[in-house]
Symmetry: C2
Subunit: 196 residues, 2 copies
């Protein structure tokens, strides 16, 4: 049996996230990294549930490079929702502690929006996972923020670092959606684009 | 705020699994690796649900080294259950393809049993997660087995490698239980042992 790649694509990931890079590398396809800059403020009045996909779309539209016929551009955005609030990246360590205090002992939703763009077509979608945290003491929250500096992460946590280990007791949905890319849907989307 | 470790333990992990080592390192505690050899055949008639914890216990009992008062021995075993069948490590690549054919398009249970042993006390428990796979083509299964050689893994798959990316569409429970250590329960157990 051949072990060459099953899909004909070379991927271009427009993201500064080392987690997304690590995940996408796992598809065994050639991968190039670039980045785009957009204003991440959601349009006023947009429902929270739509923000991640909207921003992923904005990122795809902001990509100025060209694509070869065998290339797919991948953009994504991840948001954290709890009890009607949207948690973005924390402003500083105090804000990170505040966010973790909200998440501790509760269930929240993580929504990752993705756009896949080939020269012929753009596929955008979003995927939701529910994440339940154990209660955390103030000392645990302070320890995590001081030691792991989660300021670049929506909701002030990384599911694949210390607080993900000690506090995430349950996930319903895809772990990789929480980490920043719903991999099974990215793979299905790449297959879909290859059908054209 | 101090960022010294929150728990007083040095850990001794008796496991050959690089995944367990990587996870346990994430607790920010000193970690030493050792290994134990046991016969992994479950006792005849033991319910499948009890096998993982039983084997974790056997591994703790097989540890011949001594423990200092600030050390905790960690042992674990992971089993995969589907429709009343227990899937162990595959015997060869054909067996791995057979197992993945059973898992594809279905939901299975992953049970990880853990024992934590200090000089004073042993805590054992097991944790269950439900994992749903998308359908997989014969080509995808053959590709994965040929390229990723999942022969050292119960059920012939790694949730953190290619097939985990493309085929795991849903988890209910802890992702880390599927990876080989229910980290939130390990952390809670280490806190519990520290109370004595």
């Amino acid at each position: 049996m051949s072990s060459t790649a099953l899909l004909p694509w070379r991927l271009v990931l427009a993201s500064a996230s080392p987690r997304r890079r690590q995940l996408l590398q796992g598809l065994d396809l050639p991968l190039e990294i670039t980045h785009v800059d957009i204003d991440e403020t959601p349009p006023p009045g947009m429902p929270h549930e739509q923000v991640a996909e909207h921003l992923a779309h904005q990122k795809a539209d902001a990509f100025a490079g060209g694509l070869a016929p065998d290339q797919v551009l991948v953009t994504a955005d991840t948001t954290v929702l709890i009890e009607g609030q949207l948690l973005n990246k924390p402003e500083d360590e105090a804000d990170a502690r505040r966010m973790l205090g909200i998440l501790a002992g509760r269930t929240h939703e993580v929504i990752t929006g993705v756009c896949l763009r080939s020269v012929e077509r753009t596929l955008c979608f979003s995927d939701v996972a529910r994440v339940t945290f154990t209660p955390l003491t103030a000392e645990e929250i302070a320890y995590y923020v001081a030691r792991h500096h989660p300021l670049d992460k929506a909701g002030a946590y990384g599911v694949q670092d210390w607080v993900g280990y000690v506090a995430v007791e349950r996930i319903e949905g895809s772990f990789y959606t929480v980490m920043g890319l719903p991999m099974h849907r990215v793979y299905a989307g790449l297959k879909e684009l290859a059908r054209r």
